[in-house]
Amino acid sequence: MKKGNLWRLLFLVSTLALVLTGCGDPELSALDPKGTGADMQLDLIMLSLYIMLGVMAVVIVIFTYVLIRYRQRPGDNHIPKQVEGNTKLEIIWTVIPIILLIILAVPTVYQTFVLAEDAAETTEDPVEIKVTAHQYWWEVEYPEYEIVTAQDIYIPAGERVHIELTSVDVIHSFWVPALGGKMDANPGLVNEMWLEAKQPGTYKGKCAELCGASHAKMDFKVVALERDQFEKWVADMKEPAPEPTTVSAQEGKQLFENNCMACHATDAGQKSLGPNLNGIADRKTIAGFMDNDKENLEKWITDPAARDVKPGSSGPKGMPAFHDKLTEEEISKVAEYLQTLTIE
């Protein structure tokens, strides 16, 4: 038993060490916060962790002591004194936890209200972003700029942005651990939250509510830029994309217009059934999770619902596979065209 306790203690210490070093992917981990919301949340997590580790320490110490001191020794057959209880002790271990919980409750309630504030509380005229969850992608709309895009959410750093969340199908949950927690995207309802990145950077986001076969791949990015860079991004997004120059890309454009336009808009302000592909060449990823290169574009167009892509995503509202509609060569041309859809 003694060994077992030592082992447990070791584990505890290593837990603490791990949490303290704040490890994990710096673009993803909640332990390495890059946003004001995530900062507050981590502070509360650490406060509660310390209190809880204190409680655990007390339990473990008493536990270890009791096991060693009162273990049955060979030949010992005495009948211990039958103790009914001890009012004083019982009051102590009722009152102390109550005090600890009150200590926790104060910052908890305070922060709960701060996180539920309007973005406008601290930021004048915050950027409004409407995020709509679809099985398995995120539509992003900036009503004031008349920009519709997907997967990558651009925000100005150092200020709160106001996010409106909803869903068109099942329940999803919008989670950017490094910036600040999560909020559900419910069909038929609108949720509001604010996000603030302390510094420019790219932060990974995930869908946190089981939403179907490819729930695991419903990733997105939040890209925080300095204010002037952000404004440049807005302006660039509204510029029409340059005409493709190579012949194959021009053919690709034609194929795209014939096969893909029904679901994919390519000019900034337009919503479509599938993601708006304006600036697709500059997206951090394809479909939220694959490296953005030609090979992956082809892979996606060939069969978006393939086992190693997004299984189950070719449903009634999803994107069909094109391997039986277009030849490999044609798919390659479409991909080439998509790579010209850049805003830079």
Partner: protein, 614 residues
């Protein structure tokens, strides 16, 4: 030739015996075997999922298949393994602990079991159907669980839970009445063993918590089978209603599971410390307080739904309050051991292993109750770690403690202690290895219920470690199975009182005769049997003269009734009217038969009792 015939004859009898039994001791064994079977199935599902998650971008079970595994794992473990195993212990111990000859409604007891069993079987059969198993999580959130998004698997979920839930509700009511009405003379409420107390409280929880689930399942069933629109937002429905109904049930459900485990520890720890339970009164008080509070905290599962800061704050404070009575319990256990003489039997090892494990689950529970923190924890692996700490480290450790403790009473044999300890240590190590890393996996950004994770997010190492832990738990389970088989083949015979027990069940033979107590015992205080032993008596003082004992007769009707509803379920799922009519006909017909036929039971006469000794 003749021996062959008689052998076959006997075999058939055993099967018939168990199909028709209304004896709580045999129903306990039924629950135990069915629960263990589903525990194994759920465990295999868990290991398959951990294999998929062992390395990033693995290709073993992806998409829907993985979602089916996670749904069936959760549903099976909660409803078809933990619940029946709790009922197994309740059936095995409670009538004995209160000095009763059986439960209040033996027929209903059997009906409760068969409804559960057919419900569980129904849901599991979905694996072999063209629509496959449900893929909606054990929480089955609408609209994912609606026909627009998922197929017949969800129907199997809804109907299977409806059936087994009815069984659980019946079982709960039965135990409520049993504990209120059937206690032996002198066994006042405040003299009841703590396991009986916690079971009493959870029976009340079942009575109030299962109806919301039933209502939710009915709405879901109407949406799915008959095109109603309770959860369809385009038709004025609302998807959040399901979440409320589910968690109004779901939160008390975790207490329905954990409180009996607390009860087991409150029996095991005093027995093997040779001391009475420290703070009995505060233990009872804490149990009832936890039960009350458990109905006022469900929104902590819904902090991210967007109910607003006022609701979130209120439910946060209510939730953290549960830590107080829980803490009281932990300290009472510690101080029961304080000054005692602690014996490290396998049953007690589980109880001792439980204390640090459960405390860890408890403290993460408090952390989860803080909405701002929960915005990070929610639906991440942190939650997965938390509830496995409380359910595995709490409930399952409790079930194992109870099983090693009461096995001799149930079967009259002793489980092998050496294998038992090996089982414990492997499980204990595997458990911490599997779930401890999941705490920080969640904080490092891993959502729960994902079938894979991409490389380069620093999630690889700890997922690997977690899978190794799960595999060690698998090995532990094999050791456990070997122990059971060996005990059946050549187990050491158990005396009536192998552990120097304190409560009534240890005052009668192992296994007890069908009527339990030849004469109803007179209870003189808490730990009634211990009191007698301390006064130098070997047996309980009887409260009545020897007389004829009235016994309920066995009946096949509970089995047939449940079978009827089971058959009807297929009719509902595949919209085949004749099957519905046949199934409902069988079910309602056997209800009618039961109502019209008087069953007077039978008597065991005094001379027979004398003959059997005891």
């Amino acid at each position: 030739m003749s021996t062959h015939v008689s052998h076959a004859h006997k075999k058939k009898n055993i099967l018939w015996d168990y199909l028709t039994t209304v004896d709580h001791k045999k129903i306990a064994i039924l629950y135990l075997f069915a629960g263990t079977l589903f525990l194994l199935i759920g465990g295999i599902e868990a290991i398959l999922m951990r294999l998929q998650l062992m390395v990033p971008e693995n290709d073993l079970f992806v998409g829907t298949t993985f979602n089916q595994l996670l749904t069936m794992h959760g549903t099976t473990m909660i409803f078809f393994a933990a619940m029946p195993l709790v009922f197994a212990l309740m059936n095995a111990a409670i009538p004995l602990q209160i000095g009763a000859r059986d439960v209040a409604f033996p027929f209903l007891n059997s009906l409760g079991f068969w409804l559960f069993f057919f419900g569980a079987t129904l849901t599991n059969i979905s694996w072999f159907t063209s629509g496959g198993a449900p893929e909606i999580g054990w929480t089955a959130y609408a609209p994912l669980a609606l026909p627009e998004y998922t197929g017949t698997g969800s129907d199997y979920y809804v109907l299977g839970l409806q059936l087994s839930g009815a069984g659980t509700l019946i079982g709960g009511i039965n135990f409520l009445v049993t504990i209120i009405n059937m206690r032996a003379p002198g066994m006042t409420f405040m003299r009841m063993p703590l396991f009986t107390w916690t079971s009493f409280v959870i029976s009340a929880l079942i009575l109030f918590a299962f109806p919301p689930l039933t209502v939710g399942l009915f709405l879901m069933m109407f949406d799915r089978l008959f095109g109603a629109n309770f959860f369809d937002v385009t038709m004025g429905g609302n998807v959040i209603i399901w979440e409320h109904l589910f968690w109004i049930f779901g939160h008390p459900e975790v207490y329905i599971l954990i409180l009996p485990a607390f009860g087991v520890f409150s029996e095991v720890i005093p027995t093997f410390s040779k001391k009475r339970l420290f703070g009995y009164h505060s233990m009872v008080f804490a149990t009832t307080l936890i039960a009350f509070l458990s109905f006022m905290v469900w929104v902590h599962h819904m902090f991210t739904v967007g109910l607003g800061p006022v609701a979130n704050s209120i439910f946060a404070v209510a939730t953290t309050a549960i830590a107080v009575p829980t803490g009281i319990k932990v300290f009472n256990w510690l101080f029961t051991m304080w000054g005692g003489r602690i014996q490290f039997t396998t049953a007690n090892m589980w109880a001792l292993g439980f204390i640090p494990s459960f405390v860890m689950g408890g403290v993460t529970g408090v952390m989860l109750a803080l909405p701002p923190a929960d915005f990070q924890f929610h639906d991440s692996y942190f939650v997965v770690a938390h509830f496995h700490y409380v359910i595995l480290g709490g409930v399952v450790f409790g079930l194992f403690a109870g099983l090693y403790y009461w096995w001799p009473k149930m079967f009259g044999t002793l489980l092998n202690e050496k294998l038992g300890k090996l089982h414990f240590w492997l499980m204990f190590i595997g458990f911490h290895m599997a779930f401890l890393p999941q705490h920080w996996l969640g904080l490092m950004g891993m959502p729960r219920r994902v079938y894979t994770y991409l490389e380069g997010q620093q999630l690889d190492t700890w997922n690997y470690v977690s899978t190794i832990g799960a595999l060690i738990m698998g090995v532990a389970t094999i050791v456990f199975a070997i122990n059971i088989v060996m005990t059946f083949v050549k187990g050491e015979k158990a005396p009536a009182d192998p552990w120097d027990g304190r409560t009534l069940e240890w005052s009668i033979p192992s296994p007890p005769p069908e009527y339990n107590f030849k004469q109803t015992p007179l209870v003189k205080g808490i730990d009634a049997f211990w009191i007698e032993k301390m006064q130098g008596n070997k047996e309980m003082t009887p409260a009545e003269p020897l007389g004829d004992i009235h016994m309920p007769s066995p009946s096949i009707l509970p089995f047939i009734m449940s079978l009827g509803f089971f058959i009807a379920s297929f009719g509902f799922i595949y919209h085949v009217l004749p099957v519905i009519i046949i199934g409902m006909g069988i079910g309602l017909g056997s209800m009618l038969a039961r109502s019209l036929k008087d069953d007077l039971g039978y008597h065991i006469h005094t001379d027979e009792l004398q003959e059997k000794g005891v």
